[in-house]
């Protein structure tokens, strides 16, 4: 069974937010509008943060880290968020009751809430991804719909899923090739190789969430501020 993971090289990331916009276009993430944005309700599955410190600034693109032991799943009272066998933490929009317990439990604040009815059927949307109603939590799904389409194509051609055939929108569009994506359980894959690099570190390693988005940074000596 594949174990999908991502490696983001912070030395290459230029903070241009191409991944953010690609994610929004691919997953029909709504632009919440001026009033709602000033109230701090921007929904941005992949969000680029800036870590300021004395010696330097570092851009940190933060998707959902698809933890192997996710603190957000344990607390959901209605099984609306779960970790599928392939390691992707999924969200069932039809079952979520909007209690937002998973938002409070996530140490990386990677879950977003539809405070109002932000998104309607509009032209130019991606038909593969459902539009979320108001009152439910949504999060990065590693472009799960792309995995399903790639798997269908592979099955139709009676072959296995080739590495690199399933890549989320952010990894596909990153102009400085900072985001690598693939199957962590496949020892030879580029992601697994990069994950073993001496520059590799995981965000919030001491929390025991075992995140599957691994960051590379030359000067990891500078731990979080």
């Amino acid at each position: 069974m594949a174990l999908w993971g991502m490696v983001i090289d912070l030395d290459r990331c230029t903070g241009c937010q191409a991944c953010v916009m690609a994610c929004k276009a691919e997953n029909n993430v709504p632009a919440v509008g001026a009033k709602e944005a000033t109230r701090g309700r921007i929904i941005s599955w992949m969000q680029v943060l800036t870590e300021e410190s004395e010696e330097r600034t570092r851009f940190l693109p933060r998707p959902c880290l698809q933890c192997d032991d996710p603190p957000c799943i344990k607390v959901c009272p209605v099984y609306a968020t779960y970790r599928n066998p392939e390691g992707i933490v999924a969200q069932i929009y039809a079952r979520c009751i909007g209690c937002r317990f998973c938002m409070a439990a996530c140490p990386y604040t990677a879950k977003y809430f539809n405070w109002l009815r932000y998104q309607r059927e509009a032209p130019g949307q991606n038909p593969d991804v459902s539009v979320r109603p108001k009152g439910v939590v949504e999060k990065c799904t590693f472009c799960h719909h792309r995995l399903q389409k790639a798997r269908e194509r592979a099955r139709a051609e009676r072959r296995d899923l080739a590495p690199g055939e399933y890549v989320p929108a952010c990894a596909e569009t990153c102009p400085s090739r900072a985001i690598a994506f693939g199957d962590l359980s496949d020892h030879g894959s580029e992601v697994a190789r990069l994950a073993r690099s001496p520059r590799a570190f995981r965000l919030g390693e001491e929390l025991g969430t075992k995140p599957k988005v691994i960051y590379l940074s030359e000067t990891e000596a500078h731990r979080r501020a």
Binding site: E36, R39, G40, R41, I42, L49, T50, E51, E52, L60, R62, P71, K74, V75, C76, P77, V78, Y79, A80, R95, C96, I97, G98, C99, R100, F101, M103, A104, A105, P107, Y108, T109, Y112, F113, N114, W115, L116, R117, K134, G135, V136, V137, L203, G204, L207, T209, R224, A225
Partner: protein
């Protein structure tokens, strides 16, 4: 034919017998508050939670604070009356029912807060159909329903004899009283069954009450957020609950005492004893708070300190220092010497504590959510009229339930007062003897020891 013993306790029937103009005025005021709450919730139901002040990192705010606050107040009732009943403290007689009523009424409001806080209330059934017991929210649901059921029975059982009296002597609501009196005729056998049941319940209610607020604290301490994930939360919330419970009880007692002129039954000695209990709880609360923050400060973890400084010197300093003042400084000043104006002092201290404890819950929930681990931009959570409206509506509803209860049932247990008069005095005397070395005879009391009333 007025029974002589009833005549003495006529004051206890007064609230039920006549309904003065004040009653209708309070109904109107409460109606307005509840209407504001209803309009607020309708707007939120219509447009979504966006009408409140909640935002991305601060996903919980007023509603969860209210939830913890009201469940906290519910500890006033059964816990205190159960402990006093078990310890056979004679001064409990006029207080127990008042406390139990607070519990039962406020539990409905507390549990309601969670439902108000849901983003999709129309999918409430999902909790029943697809419930997952691993989530602390469902632990809450179980323990709160257990506590609600237990405290309802614990309120109802001692009420049966009084309802029987009302059934026999009061003209109004005959059918209601007849049904609720369960055919009580005061026979010794029935008395025995009732006392046995009340004794069992008194024992059972205490662990349930403690479990309720521990489980409410688990909603926060089970996550790994800074300043939430600590083992002190269980005892801290239970102590805070008892603390705010007693304060709420004292306030309720003072209000009822003034409105229904029950000064004869709720004497300063009750307020003084509860005041001393409150003082002990203030110290206990301060001790636990001090322990929690010292541990965080000394450990000096980066995330912990971010939340710590945001409370001490950051944007949350007013609510934090307000809480410390209202919960510790003012109550200590008032409750230390209760010789004179005991009632005034304890009620003032209690009002401060109730407000302080609301702030304490706010201080636990919002600062931690406002300071996420990763370097997100600063945000400030401000409640909107919807949240104020819902809070006002909740208080209005709680007080409305309380006032209606006082209108239909005696707020002070008549038969316990009577039992106290006839049986209580002798029984206490014998019990005191059992404490002294065997064979000592009661000497005549010396005059000069002045007993505070």
């Amino acid at each position: 034919m007025p029974d002589p013993s009833l005549q003495r306790d006529a004051a206890l029937f007064a609230p039920i017998a006549q309904t003065g103009r004040g009653f209708y005025f309070t109904l109107v005021v409460l109606g307005i508050a509840i209407l504001w709450g209803a309009v607020a919730y309708w707007t939120q139901f219509e447009y979504g939670l966006g009408v409140t002040g909640l935002q991305q990192p601060v996903s919980w705010g007023f509603y969860v604070t209210n939830f913890v606050f009201f469940i906290g107040i519910s500890h006033a009732g059964t816990l205190i009356s159960a402990i006093l009943r078990l310890s056979k403290a004679e001064w409990r007689r006029p207080i127990t029912r008042m406390a139990e009523v607070i519990t039962v009424m406020v539990l409905f409001i507390g549990a309601g807060q969670i439902l108000v806080d849901l983003g999709r209330p129309d999918r409430m059934m999902n909790i029943i159909l697809y419930g997952r017991y691993q989530s602390p929210l469902l632990w809450d649901a179980t323990s709160i329903s257990a506590y609600l059921f237990a405290s309802t029975i614990y309120l109802y059982l001692p009420l049966i004899p009084d309802i029987a009296i009302l059934r026999d002597h009061l003209g109004k609501h005959r059918f209601l009283y007849a049904v609720l009196a369960m055919g009580w005729t005061g026979t010794p056998r029935q008395q025995k069954i009732l006392n046995r049941a009340i004794a069992i319940l008194a024992i059972m209610v205490i662990p349930i009450a403690v479990s309720v607020h521990t489980v409410v604290s688990f909603v926060f301490s089970m996550t790994i957020q800074p300043a939430w994930h600590s083992s002190i939360f269980g005892p801290y919330f239970v102590a805070g609950a008892i603390f705010s419970g007693i304060a709420a009880l004292i306030v309720a007692m003072a209000v009822i005492r003034r409105i229904h002129r029950l000064q004869a039954y709720l004497k300063p000695i009750h307020f003084r004893y509860l005041g001393y209990l409150l003082l002990v709880m203030t110290l206990l609360w301060f001790y636990l708070t001090f322990a929690e923050y010292l541990t965080g400060y000394y450990g000096n973890g980066p995330e912990e300190m971010k939340v710590f400084w945001s409370k001490f010197t950051g944007p949350f300093w007013p609510t934090f220092w307000g809480m410390v003042a209202l919960n510790f400084v003012i109550p200590m000043a008032l409750l230390v010497r209760l010789q004179h104006h005991a009632v005034g002092k304890t009620v003032a201290a209690s009002a401060c504590i109730v407000a302080g404890m609301w702030l304490e819950r706010f201080n636990i929930i919002v600062p931690t959510l406002s300071n996420p681990r990763l370097p997100f931009p600063e945000t400030m959570y401000w409640p909107t009229w919807v949240e104020w409206g819902e809070t006002a509506g909740s208080f209005g509803l709680f007080i409305l339930f309380y006032v209606l209860f006082v209108k239909f049932f005696p707020i002070i247990s008549i038969w316990e007062i009577r039992e106290g008069r006839e049986v209580g005095l002798k029984e206490v005397e014998e019990r005191l003897l059992t404490y002294l070395p065997d064979g000592t005879e009661p000497e005549p009391a010396r005059r000069h020891t002045k007993v505070p009333t």
